[in-house]
């Protein structure tokens, strides 16, 4: 297939750097305590450290637009499904241009596909499994079945642990605003300190700003140091938007944002 090469991750990465096809490889490396961490490789020798296994779930697409990364040159990125969806969505929102990055699509370490164009990535994703994780689906169904008072109690209890570290925002590939509403203090939209009100308002705001854009990778929830299932909030909206308008995000560079478009006959039952 056009633009696709298969082979070993480390070999392909070394080859790309040697040919000066890219100046940087964004991938995963061994971290501490048996965990993996993001690894940024610009030297051919260090490509040995790159790895990919079942622990590598982080969505690396959030590094693609960070200034300290973009200044290092053209990147190749080790991409699992969620990273690929992040790349496509960023391209759909005109944050990335075609052929400015190379995705090394991985399923296991020895089966790497080199995808140079967005089209190739779209093709790769069209054959991929985009289902939610089973435990997320189960918790979502459980919450949907609860009464409103129980849901309030559930979220109040969960959000009491929020320390407002904004790790959810930093981890999200789609939270790329250079100035976030929570950093504005005139007006002070959301209280700065961790408080019941401010925590809730922050998560409402974050989810609303991801409505119609969220690629359902669940990275925000994984980044949360308090283990709050906050990823379910934008995922719930994504679920609803898929039902209402039939749109799936992060699969086509031409997809629109459902919140910045409309149909004159959008259905609702609550406006009198």
């Amino acid at each position: 297939m056009g633009g696709r090469k298969m082979g070993n991750l480390n070999e392909i990465a070394a080859h790309l750097l040697q040919n000066d096809d890219v100046q940087l490889i964004i991938g995963y490396g061994e971290g501490s305590a048996g965990r993996v961490r993001p690894l940024f490789v610009s030297n051919k020798k260090a490509t040995e450290k790159l790895l990919f296994d079942s622990r590598c779930t982080q969505n690396l697409a959030s590094y693609l637009y960070k200034k300290e990364i973009t200044c290092l040159g053209k990147p190749a990125i080790v991409a699992n499904i969620r990273t690929l969806r992040g790349i496509i969505r960023l391209a759909a929102e005109h944050q990335l241009e075609d052929e400015t990055i190379i995705a090394l699509a991985v399923s296991t370490g020895d089966d790497v596909k080199e995808l140079r164009r967005l089209e190739d990535m779209e093709q790769y994703l069209s054959e991929a499994d985009l289902q939610l994780k089973k435990e997320d689906k189960a918790l979502l169904d459980k919450l949907n079945a609860m009464t409103i008072a129980d849901r309030w109690a559930f979220w109040q209890q969960e959000m009491a642990h929020c320390i407002k570290c904004y790790a959810c925002r930093q981890a999200c590939p789609l939270c790329y605003c250079t100035q976030c509403t929570v950093e504005i203090n005139q007006p002070q939209w959301i209280p700065v300190a961790s408080s019941k009100l401010g925590n809730m308002e922050w998560h409402i705001m974050r989810s609303m700003h991801l409505a119609g854009r969220c690629i359902e990778c669940g990275q925000c929830g994984e980044a949360c140091p308090a283990n709050i299932p906050i990823h379910l909030l934008p995922i719930r909206l994504a679920e609803e938007i898929r039902e209402l308008y039939g749109s799936v995000t992060g699969i086509s560079k031409r997809e629109s944002c459902e919140m910045s478009s409309f149909q004159p006959d959008d259905k609702e039952k609550f406006i009198t």
Binding site: R236, S260, E268
Partner: protein
């Protein structure tokens, strides 16, 4: 003076339809509940969901959002965009356990003075039945207890 609960209601309305409609209610001498505080916006498309949260965090018991009927928007499509936003916003609030009955959405044109009075009155009655928004008041007036800081 009675001790009956008088809800505080904030109405976010668009300049071109509902604000003019509310004006018509007054010039037509139609009486309506004084619990509502009207805030005028250029368009329903400008009414950010954060403003609704601000209303609640400042102690509102209910919120009305109203603007031009579909196809009547002064800016052609502001209300269409707003409608999608509210559809989504309600889903999120409901999922978080926030009572969406406290937010009333309406289309009120500049000619519908009587409808505006009806929207306000029915909202006030509805919120009176629901009572003060205790859940929200509880988190606004959060008390900092020392035990909270035990590690």
């Amino acid at each position: 003076m009675t001790n009956e609960f008088e809800p505080k209601i904030v109405a976010f309305v668009c300049n071109w339809c509902t604000y003019a409609g509310a004006d018509l209610t007054g010039t037509s001498r139609i009486k309506y509940s004084p619990n509502v505080k009207i805030i005028r916006f250029p368009c329903t498309g400008r009414i950010d969901f954060m403003l609704l949260l601000k209303a609640f965090s400042n102690g509102a018991d209910g919120v009305i959002v109203s603007g031009c009927h579909p196809n009547d928007c002064h800016y052609t499509s502001g209300n269409f965009h707003a409608r999608r936003r509210w559809i989504t916003f309600r889903v999120l609030l409901d999922f978080m356990g926030i009572d969406i009955n406290r937010i009333v959405f309406a289309w009120v044109s500049a000619a519908e003075g009587a409808k505006w009075a009806e929207v306000v009155n029915s909202t006030v009655n509805k919120i009176k039945e629901l009572g003060p928004y205790e859940n929200y008041r509880e988190i606004i007036n959060e008390v900092w207890e020392e035990e909270k800081w035990e590690i």
